[in-house]
Amino acid sequence: MLQHIRRAATILLCMLAVIIFRLSLDQWQGYQDAMKSLHEGDYKNAVTYFDHTLNAHIPFSPLEKKAKEQLLALASKYDNEGEPEMALLCYETIRTSRYLTRHLFVPDSKDIPFLDNKIASIKAGLLVKDGIVRNFSEGYYQQMGIMNKDHSPSVLWSVIFVASFLAYLGFIVLWIFKRKPVYIYILCLAFIGWLTGLYLA
């Protein structure tokens, strides 16, 4: 049994190593292309390639951190040059990349309030300019109101639901081969856990 577990763990580790290798390659390639574009003054491409780097998320990756800083610098540059649409693109790119790479939590979630503030400010400015809202604060609070709502499923219940579901499947298969009555009790419990988690997630 222990040998099986050890073997499964080894395979799982190898799979993770493969995934990390691939993502590192994506990050490295994305970052190189982005820096090249940046040096050539092709900012549009730079934003795109930094986006690729951020989406190939690896926790604690220095390249990801650098890509985020470069994008923030670009956003600030556009903000100062009076190009709000481009600044908005940069801020939104960082924010979206954080949400798209979320797992049990949102990576770099401490940056989100800052990004929300910047995004809401830019949009409020654009809305006032287009005459959609009466004043800046109306637009700002409207946008903050939208961005403050998160409808993601509950992480805790999602984890319970997934774990119970996998246990349910696993114990059915175990029962088929071993026929121990205890497996039936466990799979019934897992089923209840699955259903509860599914409902509450």
Binding site: A56, H151, I172
Partner: protein
């Protein structure tokens, strides 16, 4: 590490290397979004896939779509390991088993489906699992100790299949045949009862739809509020003749369809494995008949059902348009292709035996090299199915949002704009000020609101929730309503709206009858479009259309939307105010998303519009190649 582990890990590594970096075209965005939010996908809603996909989203690496796509790669690698085991059991020759695996791995259909967010590889794994169980039972070479386990696991797998893709149910035919072939085995009542309970234990997973498919859940592609909805979704009634029940009921009508299906299936096989594989297939058949005729019948029956029979249902017409060929040939035949690979592995072994018997001593030494030779074709896959390079679907979804003014509404049509838009907007929370409404067709006015949740946006866009067109007119006059397609002449929207070419999107504005001063309004709209197009040009990025190494039909269609933008920019810069080169050019762009041919323009080539014209031509040329099956 055993050989099985090596096969699994090496194939997994290959798939991961070429895996889509983000969302792919087609259902990718929808499935990734539904997995993350625990919602429903299009009928039959695929709960098993979504729940397993959710488990993968907990992985702290990559983005959500990438993580869900890892599941396809894992299922594919497991399927290849099963194939390896199966051929090894039949032939006892490692080289033959490796040959099957490498042939299947590099085949276009198998390879591409392993790299995307799609449920077909999970479906294949379940089918192969059932197949392997019964092949093991039918195998004359080996005593199968626990027969009950095979039967019970089969029942359970069929239950699971109902919660994924319905083509898995076709496996009932070969299993029934196998059971008949094993005449000496009779099923006890107890086993049958246990089997029934296990089938229900698998089927009950569909309860997911009733729990998570409610209208008040945050994301659902289809709503399941009651048992009637549940029945409609699970039997895919919305697809009418293609729905599960009607498709089965009509499967023996139109006998000519069998011939066309057979012919088209054959062309899919030859495209995937080359004409030479037919020779290996026949020698494989000889080997299997000699080895175990019952197993041969079982295998052949499964290939016929998953090949010509399924082709009759999906590709059973004399002429198949490129898009149907792409959709049908690309995914439905994976089980037949995988089983075909088993036979050609046996054929490889038979040739090996013949050569060995003829006294050629070198044969055993060179066979392993020949077995891995198909891997050479990875070079082809790296140039036509290298999804690692395909950022177009993601970038397009991003661009259709990026170019919109704040607080806009966008109406998306079809899978590629709607599904990918949902992913970016809901899972990625991109441009949350924009409301995305979706429609399957312009032939009727019916919007779905997955990307415009009432809880969030009813206060921002009250007019759009009023269900009255006249209430929407003021918002439209403030240039806040867009669509990814133009309003067609024959569309249901035509009596209400016109559309103006903006960039990747089209601006929708009311018909003259809703306007106080139509002439002034139109001039304002025209000026707005000119101004806004310049901003859009700074924001969107068509670079992916020149760097992707895939022949994906939908990627190419998306790129044609960028061509429309570029030619419009070229027109904008063709006036007398720009330095002319003295040349003219004819612009004739087919917008393949709508099938409409853009009006033919003859414009002056100026120094200002030349880069746009060159880029537009480059994108058209780069994306102008036929799909694999028709090359």
């Amino acid at each position: 590490m055993t050989r099985y582990h090596l096969i699994f890990l090496s194939s997994f590594a290959i798939f991961i290397f070429f895996l889509t970096p983000n969302i792919n075209t087609g259902d990718g965005g929808e499935l990734a979004t539904a997995s993350y939010f625990l919602g429903t996908a299009h009928p039959s809603a695929y709960p098993l896939y979504l729940m397993l996909g959710k488990a993968f989203t907990f992985m702290p690496f990559g983005n959500i779509a990438f993580k869900v796509a890892v599941m396809s790669a894992a299922c594919s690698a497991l399927s290849l390991t099963l194939i390896f085991w199966l051929v090894l059991e039949l032939t006892t020759e490692t080289a033959a088993a490796i040959f099957s695996v490498t042939m299947l791995l590099v085949s276009y259909s198998y390879f591409t489906q392993s790299l995307l967010v799609k449920f077909y590889q999970l479906n294949l794994l379940l089918i192969l699992l059932i197949f392997a169980l019964w092949a093991r039972r039918l195998s004359a070479r080996r005593e199968v100790v626990d027969d009950d386990a095979t039967v019970l696991l089969t029942f359970f797998s069929f239950g699971l299949i109902t919660a994924n893709h319905h083509t898995g149910i076709i496996m009932l035919g070969p299993v029934a045949a196998a059971w008949l072939l094993l005449r000496k085995d009779s099923l006890s009542v107890k086993t049958m009862l246990h089997g029934l309970v296990l089938f229900l234990s698998g089927f009950i997973i569909n309860i997911y739809l009733l729990v998570r498919g409610r209208h008040d859940n945050f994301f659902n592609a289809v709503v399941v509020d009651n048992f009637h909805d549940f029945y409609q979704v699970i039997t895919r009634q919305s697809y009418k003749q293609s729905g599960t029940i009607d498709a089965v009921a009509g499967s023996f009508g139109n006998l000519a369809g069998f011939w066309y299906g057979f012919r088209n299936f054959l062309s899919v096989l030859i495209s995937n494995f080359s004409i030479f594989s037919c020779l290996l297939f026949f020698t494989g058949c000889i080997f299997l008949v000699r080895k175990n005729y019952r197993l041969f019948i079982f295998l052949l029956f499964a290939i016929l059902l998953y090949g010509p029979f399924l082709a009759k249902l999906t590709l059973g017409a004399a002429t198949i348009p490129e898009i149907s060929f792409y959709l049908g040939a690309h995914q439905y035949f994976l089980p037949a292709i995988a089983l075909f690979a088993v036979v050609i592995g046996c054929g490889f072994n038979q040739i090996f035996l013949w050569l060995k018997a003829s006294g050629l001593r070198l044969v055993p030494k060179i066979m392993p090299f020949i077995a891995v030779f198909p891997l050479v074709f990875l070079v082809s896959r790296a140039t036509d199915s290298n999804f690692r390079t395909d950022f177009v679907p993601y970038q397009y979804a991003k661009d259709i949002y990026s170019i919109l003014p704040a607080d806009s509404v966008i109406l998306t049509y079809g899978d590629n704009a709607s599904y990918q838009g949902w992913y970016l907007k809901l899972a990625g929370r991109y441009r949350e000020d924009v409301c995305q409404i979706s429609s399957g067709s312009q032939s009727y006015i019916h919007w779905t609101l997955q990307g415009c949740n009432r809880k969030i946006y009813s206060g921002v866009f009250p007019a759009f929730f009023s269900q009255k067109f006249t209430a929407m007119v003021p918002d439209m006059l403030r240039d806040r309503f867009y669509g990814t397609d133009p309003v067609k002449n024959d569309s249901a929207y035509d009596s209400y709206m016109n559309s103006g070419i903006f960039s990747l999107d089209y601006l929708y504005y009311p018909k003259d009858k809703y306007l106080d001063n139509a002439a002034v309004t139109k001039k304002e709209i025209s000026n707005f479009l000119l101004r806004r197009r310049l901003i859009a040009d700074k924001l969107l990025n068509d670079n992916g259309c020149l760097t992707h190494l895939t022949d994906d039909l939908f990627t190419r269609q998306i790129c044609s939307a960028y061509v429309v933008h570029l030619t419009n920019m070229a027109m904008q810069y063709s006036g007398s105010g720009y330095e002319s080169t003295g040349k003219t050019v004819e612009l004739n762009v087919r917008d393949t998303k709508t099938g409409y041919l853009q009006p033919l323009y003859t414009i002056a080539v100026t120094e200002r519009n030349k880069p746009y014209l060159l880029r537009s031509t480059a994108i058209q040329e780069f994306n102008n190649w036929k799909i694999f099956y028709q090359r």
